[in-house]
Subunit: 382 residues, 2 copies
Amino acid sequence: MTHLSEFRGVSRSKLGQEVAELGRLGLVESGGQAPSRGGRPSNIVSLSNEVRYAGIEIGATSIAAGLTNGYLEVLDFVEEDADVHDGPDVVLGRAIELVRKLAARHPASTLAGVGVGVPGPVSFRDGRLVGAPLPMPGWERFPIRDHLARELKLRVTVDNDVNTMALGEAHAGAARGTNDFMYVKLGTGVGSAIVANGLLYRGADGCAGEISHTRIVDLQSLCSCGRHGCLNAEFGGSALTRQAIVAAQSRESVVLARLLEQNGTLTPADVGAASAAGDPYATQMIRRGGRLVGQALANLINVLNPSRIVIGGGLLGLGPLLLAEIKSAALEASTPLATSELAIVQTALGDRAGVIGAAWLASETLIDALASPSETGISRTA
Amino acid sequence: MTHLSEFRGVSRSKLGQEVAELGRLGLVESGGQAPSRGGRPSNIVSLSNEVRYAGIEIGATSIAAGLTNGYLEVLDFVEEDADVHDGPDVVLGRAIELVRKLAARHPASTLAGVGVGVPGPVSFRDGRLVGAPLPMPGWERFPIRDHLARELKLRVTVDNDVNTMALGEAHAGAARGTNDFMYVKLGTGVGSAIVANGLLYRGADGCAGEISHTRIVDLQSLCSCGRHGCLNAEFGGSALTRQAIVAAQSRESVVLARLLEQNGTLTPADVGAASAAGDPYATQMIRRGGRLVGQALANLINVLNPSRIVIGGGLLGLGPLLLAEIKSAALEASTPLATSELAIVQTALGDRAGVIGAAWLASETLIDALASPSETGISRTA
C-alpha cells in the first residue's frame, strides 16, 4: 500500500514542496511517532488513500488509462483504439485527453502523479523511448516524460509497457508475494519483464526482458531483425496473422479460408475462433506457438530460476490450449531443480495490469520525491 | 572496502557479541561521529583492516584457500588437487586443514569469518548444496556451513562457486563499478552468475546462472541430463577431453594422436597445445566451442541486457582465439541495443576470483551479524 512508513528523522519542514502541497490538501497524514532509537522522536508520514494516481498504457494499437486511489485500486478505467504510428504528438495528446477526462469525472480528487507504459525499450532515467526494434516513427528519444509533465503539470514516470504490467501483477496480481518472477506478455509480439531479488530489473540499457529475438532450434522464418530463427518471427499477433492468411489462401485451414472470404482480413482472434470451431490446422498453430514460447522460456528458467512466471496479453484469448502448451514445453526443456517449485500461471489483472503498474510507478516516484536523497530509510507496508 | 560506515543511531553497547569481541581485540575502530540528523550524535564504526578473512574455493578437482585483510587483499594463498567425489567429510577436512595452515602462518592475525564456494547449486539460507546436476556423492544437503562453523569455531558462509567468482570480480576485478553484469566460468562445465541492480541474483532455488543446459540450434550430442542439444554436452573441459580423444583415435588430429600416444590420456590443455602447434583440427575445436558459448550468451544478452560479461575459468588457457570467438558469436546473435555498450572481457583475478569473493561473503556476513535486524542503515564505502 502507499504508505510512507518509517520516515525517520525527517521533520515535516524538510519535506519537499509536493508533500507540503499534499499536506495542505489533507492528503498527507501523520501516522504517529516512529519507535524511538535514542534520538529525537521521528514522525511517520503516510499518504492518504484519498490521493489519486493516473496510470496510462500505450500499446501498439490501443491506449488505456485508469484512475486509482492511494491503495492503487482502479476507480475508473477507459480504453480506446490508437495507432502508435501516428507519432508521439498525436498519441500523447490522446493520453493527456484521457487523463483530463478521468480527472473531470472525479472533480473532488487530487491527482498526485502519472505513470506511463510505452511499447518499447525505455531509458528510465530520461523518460524516453530509446532503440525501439520496431518502426515507431517520431518516438525515438522523444521526451515523453517531460512533455506529459509540462502539459499535465504533474510528476510523470515512464517505463516499458511490459515492465509496468509486471509491477501491476507484483503489487496486486498473480505475482504478489514473490521476489523472483518473470512476466510474459503475448501480444502483437512477445515481451517479458524480470523481477530479481524483489526489484524490477531493467538492464544496462533499459531493454532487459527482450525475449522476442530468442533463437530457437529449428525455426527458419525470417525475422524483422534480419535474422532467421527468432521467436518473434514465428509467434505473436503479427506472426499468427501472417500464418493465418497463408493457411487460408492455401486452404490448409477451411475455417480460416471462410473467415477470410467473409471479412476480407484475418486477426489472431480468428485463429482462436477457428480452433474453437474444430479446425485442426488452427489448433495446430496455437499448439506450435505455445511450444515455441515454452522452449524460449526453458533456457530462461534454467538461468533465472524464477519462482513464478505470469503469462498475460491478448493472445491468451486463443484459449486454454496455449497456456497448457507453454507450460508443458517449458517444463519439459528445463532442469528439474529450476522447476521443482515453479508455477506458471496466467495474469490475475488482465488488461488492467499495465495501468495498475503505471500507477504504482507514479506512487513510487512520489515517495522518492518526498524523501530527500540522503534519507533512504523508507519502506512501504505490504 | 570493509567499512561499517553510517552505523546510525546504534550505540556500541547494542552491537552484537562478535563486534564486542572484535572491539576487545582492537579490530573495531571508531570512525568518529556521523553527520547530525537532529537526533543524538551517532558513532561511525569501522572494521579495522587488521581483521582477517579466509576464502575457500572447492572445485571439482581442486581446493584453494586464501587469507585476506579487511580490505580483502589476498595476503596468502594455497591451492591443492582434490577430488569432490571423495565426499564432504574428506574434502571439507582438507579445507579445514588449509584454513588452519593459513592461520598458523600468520599467528598475529585474528580470523573473523570464512567464506566458501562449492561447485553446485546452494541453498544460501541453509549453507547446503542442493540438487547438484552432476554426481557429487554425499554432498546433497550435507550441512557444509554448520560443519565448518563447528570445526573452525567461526562464522561461515557458503555459496555456489561461480557466484563467489562473480562477487570477487565485482569487488576487486573486471566487474568493478558495474551494477548489471554476468560472470561466465569456462571450466569442467560452463557456469554463470548474474548480478542485477547491483545485487547477486541467486534465484528462487539457488540455481540461477545455470547456463550449461542452454539448448542451442543444431547441437546433437547427448547430455548428462538425458537430452540432446545442451551446451554442456558440446563444450567445457569434459566435452573437450572427450572430443580430443575421438579426434586422436580417428587421427583427424595428428598432434592430438601423438599426444595421446605419449601420455596415455588427453586434457583440455592438450587441445590448446595442439592448436598452438598449428593443428587445424584442435583450432577448429576451440573455435566451435567459442561460437557455441557465444550463441548461448546471445539470448541472455538480449534478455538480461548486462553492461559487462566477465569470462573466467581454466579454459581461457586455450588461447585468445576462444575469447575472440565467444565475443563475435555473442555480438552477432544479439540485438544492437543490448550490445551497444556491452563489454565482454576476461577475468582480472584469474584463479583467485573465487577466494576473494568468498572472503567478501565472509565480510558481508560479519557486517550483517553486527547489525541488529532492525538496523539496516549500513553501507560499505567503495
